[in-house]
């Protein structure tokens, strides 16, 4: 038994007992609007309850020039009238007919009506209506007929042919054999799509990271995005002439005077000593006061370490900035997560252990650790994870915090890396810029 929409039902009932009807008649017969009739017929066609046949009809109609010709007479007819009524001089005729003189002459001669005699035109043939004149009149009456002369009318831009499609619809054999149909709902039809509101993929990645870290005993800390160079670089043992500190890689705040150095006298002294001893130069406070957009979150974790005592496991996650042009793999604004562990007896093994466990919880697959170099840890390691194409992809960097870094002192481990990188790996995203393009098509359906 078929389940039909009320509109469909009315159409079916209306067509019962009829043969094929013109589609335009369905609305009237079924008592529905033209729009409803059109849709209803389509649905029924798809359900094979209606057979639709398309026929093409040609009809002719006047063009504007043709309407004018009907009113005033074809140019050649007017020419003949002028000649018959006595005006025979070529120049006079030219003047009276203007631009139409040429075509009029041509047509009149072809019809055999006139004959030029020097500067004068003589009438010859009869003034009977030509076939195509009659055709033009018929078309003008709306009889739309085709006939002899249509090509000529078309070529002179007087009339044109129009093809229109007509559809006739009739109930199919299947429909005719249906019993009384019931009104109901088509539960198989598609419902309008709904898009649940969602967190952004980076928020989800950060929440997952956060949960893994908190469950491993790490506590979250935060710090400002605007930092003094002291905390972003100097306290982390980055020398003041290091290339990364130049405008190339770091956003310096324009015109900010920097204010007082946001550090205690002890902190300032320790950092100065570390730079003097290690990098062998005199460190400048004025440079340390320069305000920057932080290039990593290490400024937050290291400061926390220096200003706290005892065993610690803390992490910080948030936005960092690098003065670079954005590309498929790099952004000038992105998110980092960084953590530190302080307890007696911590060494590389503990770092490898904690990271292995973290990647396991994040479901990232095979991991390896390679030695590398970072300015504030020594030794330093790089965690590598097998990416989608079997290649090793860099994950987090880590190491034992150098003694010169503020806050270190016996077995302090640090690790950190980019959040976008993890979100890309898990989400199969190839271009990091997608996270900031906010394409709703992606955000809604990923």
């Amino acid at each position: 038994m078929a389940v039909l929409h009320p509109i469909e039902r009315r159409i079916v009932e209306a067509l019962r007992g009829s043969g094929a009807v013109d589609e335009g008649e369905v609305a009237r017969l079924a008592g529905v609007s033209a729009d409803q009739a059109r849709r209803g017929v389509e649905w029924l066609v798809q359900k094979k309850l209606i057979d639709a046949k398309r026929t093409w009809e040609s009809s002719a109609e006047l063009c504007p020039r043709g309407a004018d010709a009907l009113e005033r007479g074809l140019p050649e007819r007017r020419l003949l009238d002028l000649v018959s009524s006595g005006t025979a001089g070529m120049s006079e005729l030219r003047e009276k007919l203007g631009a139409e003189f040429g075509p009029a002459m041509g047509a009149a001669r072809r019809a055999g009506w006139v004959e030029p005699d020097g500067e004068v035109l003589r009438a010859r043939g009869g003034p009977e209506k030509l076939p195509y004149e009659e055709l033009l009149e018929r078309i003008g009456r709306g009889e739309g007929a085709r006939g002899e002369g249509m090509e000529l009318l078309e070529s002179r831009g007087l009339a044109r042919e129009r093809r229109s499609a007509r559809r006739t619809v009739a109930l199919s054999a299947a429909a005719r054999s249906l019993g009384r149909v019931q009104e109901g709902m088509d539960v198989e039809a598609d419902a309008p799509p709904a898009y649940p509101a969602r967190r952004h993929p980076l928020s989800e990645a950060m929440a997952e990271l956060r949960e893994a870290l908190v469950s491993m005993g790490f506590s979250e800390i935060r710090g400002p995005l605007v930092q003094q160079s002291f905390w972003n670089f100097d306290a982390l043992y980055t020398p003041q002439d290091h290339p990364a500190r130049e405008m190339q890689d770091t956003f310096f705040l324009d015109g900010e005077p920097g204010g007082r150095l946001d550090a205690s006298a002890r902190q300032v002294r320790r950092v100065g000593e570390a730079h003097r001893r290690g990098w062998r130069y005199e460190w400048k406070k004025s440079k340390a006061r320069e305000a920057v957009l932080r290039t990593h979150t290490t400024c937050v974790t290291a400061r926390h370490l220096d200003e706290s005592e005892g065993d610690a496991r803390v992490f910080s996650m948030g936005r960092v900035f690098r003065n670079e042009k954005a590309s498929r793999k790099h952004l000038s604004e992105f998110h980092q997560v960084e953590g530190v562990m302080r307890a007696p007896g911590l060494g590389l093994r503990d770092l490898v252990g904690m990271q292995t466990e973290l990647y396991r919880r994040l479901g990232l697959g095979e991991v390896a650790f390679w030695p590398t170099f970072f300015p504030y840890t020594e030794p330093s390691l790089q965690a590598m994870v097998r990416g989608p194409r079997g290649k090793w992809v860099e994950m987090f960097g880590m190491g034992v915090l150098r003694g010169e870094v503020l806050g270190s002192g016996g077995g302090v481990l640090a690790w950190g890396g980019g959040v976008e990188r993890i979100a890309m790996l898990k989400g199969g995203v190839e271009d990091v810029r997608a996270f900031y393009e906010n394409d709703l098509g992606w955000l809604r359906c990923r």
Binding site: H200, S203, L253, L293, R313, G347, F369, P371
Partner: protein
């Protein structure tokens, strides 16, 4: 840098298989960028300039593979080669070494050039601290003279050119002059002269074409200049080590001060190595690890005495030795350990605040978006924005509000289905001493019937979820339609804004539906709510309060 695997293999004692070499390279601290047939691209650490050529990398691989241990013997001998120095004020120190007994092919020359570039870019800090020049020894006559000469004096045809030019013209008419001439102040410039008086180099800029090293050269002279004898010898030692590995014999050049290229004695406690590794190692094991890292090492009681080759000037203290020991131990051999920790972790207060706000917005059907803090120039109000200097990517202002970014997100989604409801939480910035950072919640909605009322409902609901009751009072804002915007207050504090987007904003963003939005200062709301002790998690349930 690209390494030819066949050539590399030929230089590693024991000739390990290519696959083994590829597996070992990361454990020298080299980043593998890509592999292709017969070659591999690697990136090396800035603190290991000896890894800038295949010669140095081969030495490292020998240690890891066990084919060789301990330092590479330089075998540098004293010689009769001498540089007389008049100590030019601009760059007083000069040192040199000669290398004989091997043949320079084009690939070696290419490698020496990249070694030079890497030294320049790294420890030399763009040739400021040191710069080296490599010459064909057969074109040089000793003793050399190092002095300063006026810029107008006769010079030489610089490398790559045929025309002989004065020293001043070398500085002004060559690429190297343009790049490095700035390191020399006004006045006379340092010049290194052959025994006959012809200049062969204008440090730190460029050498003479006459002493250029070509394919087939059988002896080389390397000079290094700078201010600090230690840094000058650092640079020279990398060149010497590289040439030694390339098969040359080394001859020390006399100068004052002169390069000795001697090893340094340094020691490390075995306990420090064990602590860094997290593994208890014996004195003998520790010494073995250090030898695998191509250092000299002798086990004593509780410590290891090391001989650090001259080119390893990055090894300065016991911690550096501990790192070398870790590399020699093999990072891949570290067994993961989960150290005990009994204190539970937790999320930060601000995180919890943002989560509550986000949950409320999700519940109202708003999808989260992320926009950047740095934005491009905005018409009109840029004077009040914090700026950054010289941005590469274009956006040089720090946003004061989230709403413009949210409106731009609507603009980039005009071809997506409506209704669109979006929210964002994030930082905002204001000028101040120091700069003021705020935490905001912003939201926009767009659809055929979007209006003030819906935006206000959402704003009130979001604030309530954070424990704050907000009231609206008429306000105006350039982004909002006149008469259809309000300030939101919690108590007396202004905590936000709500309104319909102004028609100009809607059309500028090519939206074909009306849009409205709101913004709340989460920090102010949170402070207010916690002052009143009202930041409980399950407050507003929508019941109307009497009198409101």
């Amino acid at each position: 840098m690209e390494l030819d695997l066949a050539r590399l293999r030929a230089q590693v004692k024991g000739r390990p298989a290519r696959r083994d070499i590829l597996n070992m390279l990361p454990y020298l601290g080299l980043d593998i960028e890509s592999e292709s047939a017969g070659a591999v691209r690697v990136e090396y650490s800035p603190n290991r300039p000896d890894y800038s050529t295949e010669y140095g990398i081969a030495a490292g691989l020998e240690g890891l593979s066990g084919a060789a241990a301990g330092p590479v013997e330089l075998g540098a001998r004293d010689s009769q080669y001498r540089i007389r120095s008049r100590r030019p004020s601009q760059r007083p120190v000069v040192m040199g070494v000669c290398a004989t007994g091997a043949r320079a092919d084009s690939r070696m020359i290419g490698q020496l050039m990249s070694m030079q570039e890497d030294l320049d870019a790294g420890v030399a800090r763009a040739r400021r601290h040191s710069s080296i020049g490599i010459h064909d020894l057969s074109a040089v006559r000793f003793p050399l003279l190092y002095e300063q000469s006026p810029r107008g004096s006769a010079g030489f045809a610089p490398l790559g050119r045929t025309e002989k030019m004065s020293l001043g013209r070398v500085l002004s008419e060559t690429e190297q002059g343009a790049k490095y001439g700035r390191l020399l102040g006004p006045g006379p410039v340092p010049v290194l002269r052959s025994a006959g008086g012809e200049p062969i180099s204008l440090p730190p800029v460029v050498n003479s074409e006459a002493t250029a090293v070509r394919e087939g050269a059988r002896s080389l002279f390397v000079e290094a200049t700078g201010f600090d004898p230690r840094r000058v010898e650092d640079a020279l030692s990398v060149a010497a080590f590289t040439l030694r590995r390339a098969g040359f014999s080394l001859h020390l050049v006399k100068s004052s001060p002169a390069a000795r290229l001697s090893e340094r004695r340094l020691s490390v406690r075995t306990a420090e190595i064990s602590s860094v590794l997290g593994v208890d190692v014996s004195d003998a094991e520790a010494a073995r690890c250090l030898r695998r890292a191509r250092l000299g090492a002798v086990a004593r009681r509780g410590r290891v005495e090391c001989a650090v080759p001259r080119h390893r000037f990055d090894v300065r203290d016991s911690r550096d030795l501990a790192e070398e020991a870790a590399l020699g131990y093999g990072v891949q051999n570290l067994e993961p350990r989960m150290s005990a920790w009994s204190v539970p972790g937790g999320r930060d207060e601000q995180t919890r605040l943002v989560e509550r706000a986000s949950t409320a917005m999700l519940g109202l059907g708003y999808t989260e978006v992320f926009n950047t803090c740095l934005v491009g120039e905005l018409p009109g109000s840029s004077g009040r924005h914090l700026r950054v200097a010289d941005p590469k990517g274009g956006g040089g202002l720090l946003r004061r509000s989230l709403l413009p970014g949210l409106a731009a997100t609507l603009a980039s989604n005009v071809h997506r289905a409506y209704p669109q409801r979006l929210f964002e939480t994030g930082a905002s910035f204001e000028r101040g001493e120091p700069a003021v950072e705020g935490l905001r919640l912003g939201a926009v909605l767009a659809h055929a019937d979007a209006g003030f009322s819906e935006a206000k409902s959402a704003a009130v609901a979001a604030a309530a979820a954070l424990g704050s009751e907000v009231r609206a009072s008429p306000a105006s804002d350039p982004m909002m339609a006149k008469g259809r915007a309000a300030r939101l207050r919690a108590g007396r504090a202004a905590v936000g804004l709500v309104g319909e987007l102004a028609p100009e904003v809607v059309s500028a963003h090519r939206l074909r539906v009306p849009a409205a939005g709101f913004e709340l200062d989460l920090g102010l709301i949170f402070d207010g709510a916690s002052d009143r002790g009202a930041h409980k998690s399950n407050r507003a349930d929508g019941r109307k309060r009497a009198g409101r």
